[in-house]
Symmetry: C2
Subunit: 456 residues, 2 copies
Amino acid sequence: MKKITVLLLLQASLSFSQTTDEQMLKEIYKSALTDSKCYSWLDDLSNKIGSRLSGSVGAEKAVLYTKKELETLGLDKVYLQEVMVPKWVRGEKEIAYLIHGKKKVSFPICALGMSVATPKDGLTANVIEVKSLEELKALGSEKVKGKIIFFNRPMNPEFVETFHAYGSCVDQRSSGAREAGELGASGVIVRSMNLRLDDFPHTGSTNYKDIALDKRIPAAAISTNGAEALSKLLKENPNAKLFFKQSCKQFDDVLSYNVVGEITGKEFPNKIMVVGGHLDSWDLGDGSHDDGAGCVQSMAVLEMFKKLNYKPKNTIRAVLFMNEENGVKGGLKYEELSNKNSENHIFALESDSGGFTPRGFSIDADNTNFDKISNWKSLFEPYLIHIFRKGHTGVDIGPLKSDKIVKVGLQPDSQRYFDYHHAANDTFDAVNKRELELGAASMAALMYLFDQYGLQ
Amino acid sequence: MKKITVLLLLQASLSFSQTTDEQMLKEIYKSALTDSKCYSWLDDLSNKIGSRLSGSVGAEKAVLYTKKELETLGLDKVYLQEVMVPKWVRGEKEIAYLIHGKKKVSFPICALGMSVATPKDGLTANVIEVKSLEELKALGSEKVKGKIIFFNRPMNPEFVETFHAYGSCVDQRSSGAREAGELGASGVIVRSMNLRLDDFPHTGSTNYKDIALDKRIPAAAISTNGAEALSKLLKENPNAKLFFKQSCKQFDDVLSYNVVGEITGKEFPNKIMVVGGHLDSWDLGDGSHDDGAGCVQSMAVLEMFKKLNYKPKNTIRAVLFMNEENGVKGGLKYEELSNKNSENHIFALESDSGGFTPRGFSIDADNTNFDKISNWKSLFEPYLIHIFRKGHTGVDIGPLKSDKIVKVGLQPDSQRYFDYHHAANDTFDAVNKRELELGAASMAALMYLFDQYGLQ
């Protein structure tokens, strides 16, 4: 009899909780789709402020703007965290052309982030096209010396998930200049990380590691159409010389900030749940997908909790990280300060895969916590959130380490992400309001459930 | 012992079949993403031919073009089915403005499909704004007489699935002119079926049913921004008169065609599995999403089967239906001919929800067949196809009736569909190549599995 009573009580409590959770998720999605500022925040960030490369005026304006907006939400705390960040400046518009017989055939290029400049009057050299770092190394220094290395391995369209195609291709951009430089090349041109054929060169960091400044060679991205055309011309005329010119420059590090807003937990103020994106962007577009979207979605999580009068058990903190693109200094500083202040992070959620329709979550947790979160799947079904899997979560929350922390990355639909990623067309008009809002709602819903049911 | 042997054999056969199916789906998705013509077909349909309203030159060209392309695929049969279709022509660009004090404030409008024209010099009348057919009816004929009725109920953004928002709003467009006309109104303006605020009016059929031609009142759609502005101005000045003018015209029915291509089944040539979309489109954009996408995806199913040298058990037939938008004459004719020829349809799949990332399938089947198809879900997991549910499938395959037929509608992500639906911005650039191809692959994969494992 007793057993039955307990069972009935348990069932009653479970169904009550299920109903409460269902109701809360309904309220969250409704709030996001009808009453959130996140799209107009993105409009401001993208169209009033524009690109936000670390150390730029845009980044500075974005810090002030988002702090001010967070201050309107009635949060318990809004503050900045000082962080020194690299300042790299693109300089003049880059130029590239192939000297093909009597003609000069131009290509759209852009300097890779953190690249050095070419000599002032540009660089002219023969070109060797390779498809991989391995192919480059096999050539050896004798063949490479003085040449411009053209990395032309396309992203593989067979991968259904475009991030896998990116992951298996981006070594050309991140390590190409270093590896080619070590073999004596004079410069590097890399096919843009883009699955489409179009005319936008896509920037992104190249990493020289500890190579001395005067030994670094300049590196640029070429649009995918440009890469196709250059490859074709080089087959016709392997001795054609390529000219390219860029005047980018690295300055001393400058002071910048992470922007933080929080609702203090009513039961466990010292247990912290972070939701964030990165406020910096590359300089070519306005960084609407990468990662204005993640920032405004993170702000919207707090906005929704306040509007719905939800008083979290744990402290819910939105962090807009600075400098994800070329240094991760914001993420590292956040972790440093967290350690210094003996903060206890139980959860971190990052949105940095674009403002597209959310499909689910990528989760970094032990099996117990992973299973627990996966059990919430049915609550997300009405919102077409199906993916709950282990995997990469976010670069900015990467440095956060603890014995017990659950990290999650929002997984939006990835098909169009690399159409815009790091390019001049990553602009506000490429973001759909509802898709952005559904992402924000999915983030808030997961934050709510984790706040309620915590770590195992 | 025997039992165990049988069991082992069964397991072996199951795992072999699982592996074969997994392999086949892999080949299908690879073929779609690397080797399909579907995107270039859509480019031709959209950019070389353009809009394809039934009875238009565009529709005629599209029939010839797709027939010619199907003939290149090495199919067993390619043919046309004659069908008489309505011919409605928009005429001159529509004009609308509110006479607001001394100013004329203009709005972007377009005639609704099948609407009658205004008088030659336009129509001027006071406006009554309503939010529903019920609100209109409650006004009664005395208040409505001579007025322009402005239906301004927005699509409800709270619906996660935009088709639900459409379904609960479209009565204003389909029945507004009829209902208002019966109450003596002089004209109708309907807020566009669009969840975004923008300047595109969205057309679509209005249905007068059996109202005599001379009793029909003209109906136009106004853009969502226009609707907001008109509503605001009417609040300021309820007696302001609206002028609008349109010269659309209905002609006699003309001859057109469904386009059919098929691979004859090697085991059951008389069992037919249809895959299709509709070749006609509205006249404002080029109908890339609605439904150029569904047509080229259906063609791509046959293309892939031929390229992969897959010899289906059943006859696989792609049908590009004419006249879905304003009459469904193609779908009705197809069913009529099917009956006449005593064809046995076991399966029909339609893609008519845009060329966006596929999310799953909407299925019309008895429980046994529904469960069977749902059991294939795990095979689709690697391709991020998660939705298997009962529901609406497609307008063109709607007329097909049989005791035993499974009907399916491809379900792409729906968030952006109504940004473009029936509007001038439904153009090729709004379709992403990979999203289109993934849809085609998902259709081919389902066709393959059904062909293999058939009806229960």
